[in-house]
Amino acid sequence: MTNTTKPVAIREFPVEEFPETHYLNATKGLKSWMLTLDHKRIGLMYLASVIFFFFVGGLLALALRLELWEPAQNFMDAETYNRVFTLHGAVMIFLFIIPSIPAALGNIFLPVMLGAKDVAFPRLNLASFYIYLGGAMFTLYSMAHGGIDTGWTFYTPYSTNSGSAVISMTFGVFIMGFSSILTGVNFITTVHKMRAPGQTWGKLPLFVWSLYATGVIQVLATPVLAITLLLLIMERTLGIGIFDPALGGDPVLFQHFFWFYSHPAVYIMIVPGFGIISELISTFSRKVIFGYWAVALSSLAIAFIGFLVWGHHMFTSGQSELSTVVFSFLTFFVGLPTGIKIMNWVATMYRGSIWLATPMLYAIEFLFLFTIGGLTGIMLGALSVDIHLHDTYYVVAHFHYVMMGGTVFAFLGGLHYWWPKFTGKMYNETLAKIASVILFIGFNMTFLPQFVMGSQGMPRRYFGYLEQFQTLHQYSTVGSWILGVGFLLVAYYLIVSLVKGAKAPSNPWGGRSLEWMTSSPMPAHNFEHVPVVIHGPYDHHQPIAEFRMGIDAPHHDTTHA
């Protein structure tokens, strides 16, 4: 059932006129999927994988929370607990959140938004998917073979001594790094070289801008992770002594290597989310985005500054005092471009025509949650305070607010926004709204208490804890159940929509970027004819027909190509 197909004042493709074949049924059979070069199918396979791993990571999180119901041992022992939180962190970071928006939603929509038929290197794109799967296999293998208990940060010398499956895990992550790099290379090239006629830099949708900035980070930072993990593997197998103090090495150097990647990586996680939010806010306010260039370029600014602040994870590590000060100082500057984005989004809503459909609900929840997450990041950047808060649940709460409240909520927003486009089906709007609210409540219930616990001194990665924290832990655990219910509901109505959802129109939300100008689901080559772009992607004041130049008027095409 659907009630979103309201009568809209703008002209669009009638559903009945959609071509019979589209990218989902253009070719059939398992092989046509396994060997596909179509960016949409690859994106879809990525989407299925990341959602699968999100559920794996989520189940591990539920197990964690259950164990923390009581201060002492509950149903798993310390060693299991340590393996569970490590896997939770590693699965969520490397298997879920890093590929989530770029490789899944980005893959499906980036070429469409540019008016291209595909990404620049479709084969690399497919390769990147299989490399990702290969890396995931190693991760699962290490799960089965003893697990790994180092935390997702793999700090030496613990990781060089610990008897767990460190090598297979880090090797898996090493491999996945290449998949991330290939995605980045592909996207940057695509944005540079594959834009449709008229699609100038100033008319790129902000989602594309954000994927571009993300690509830059992926290309510049991920190789360093690769070499770090390679050195770690060598440290374990050969004892090369660069990081292991027992052999004359320096463990703090490892931390530099690791965070040189992993701090910029947090912007690989969030910047694509920013891109989605820009799309949502403009479309559902039916209003041109406020400060287009500010929003577009601040992504690049974040990408750049983000490379200079990694040492804020190491304030207590024994790094030199000089670098501690420099890192703290620079850390705050990431807040400026981020703040600019937030303010521009809010300003976009001013005097808009706001439709609180599910994606917009997620966008608003995102703004609230991410601002909390970001401001607590500022708290952690402040030297004297971070000395107290470092490695406590305050940090845990901070990063769940930015990653779960930020990226995951943006991801959900994007998923709902584009769902009609790539599946061709509508979902149940009422259930979707209910689920969104449940998730919002559950999320805050899970992680707000963690701020308090952390400030009170509850350290992270603790299997057992002092009795005084029990109440707050229990709130948090109950919250995680609410989250679980919320996600089950989401899974339910999305599956229902696939099975018997109403046919989606081409442009259910009144968007202006190119993906809304083609049929739902898109044709195998995205557009029947090469589009010609004359207006910006947020020019809601221009007649919709002018956004369809070249697309539904076949006589237009080749002359412009």
Binding site: G311, S320, E321
Partner: protein, 114 residues
């Protein structure tokens, strides 16, 4: 078309010749034993020169689209940042800030283990 520039023979041979000469030079300089910081500076200076020759003429950046040069420069810039910022730590570990003028005790020498 810039991407399809055919590099003239004289550039290729000239570049190779220059590279051979510079290699010989850097080895020669090694045997002269220039004092401490300058030997590294000279060695790296020559290496950078050689690298630029390769990038410009063998790899054709001299004639190519600017974006490719920008990409290469970007990698160099970020590499330098990585080195520079890491060394803010590794080179200054034992130099605490004495801002409150309470001289910190010298690093302990005896082991804590009994």
């Amino acid at each position: 078309m810039s991407g399809h520039h055919i590099i003239p023979m004289k550039f290729l041979l000239g570049t190779a010749g220059a590279l051979f000469v510079l290699t010989a030079l850097t080895v020669a300089v090694h045997y002269i034993h220039i004092p401490a910081p300058f030997n590294i500076i000279v060695a790296i200076g020559i290496a950078v020169l050689k690298a630029s020759l390769v990038a410009m003429f063998f790899m054709g950046l001299f004639w190519d689209k600017k974006i490719n040069t920008i990409a290469l420069m970007l990698s160099v810039v970020f590499f330098v940042l990585m080195v520079g910022v890491t060394m803010l730590d590794t080179m200054f570990r034992d130099k605490p800030f004495g801002i409150y003028d309470k001289a910190p005790a010298p690093p302990a020498t005896t082991s804590a283990a009994p």
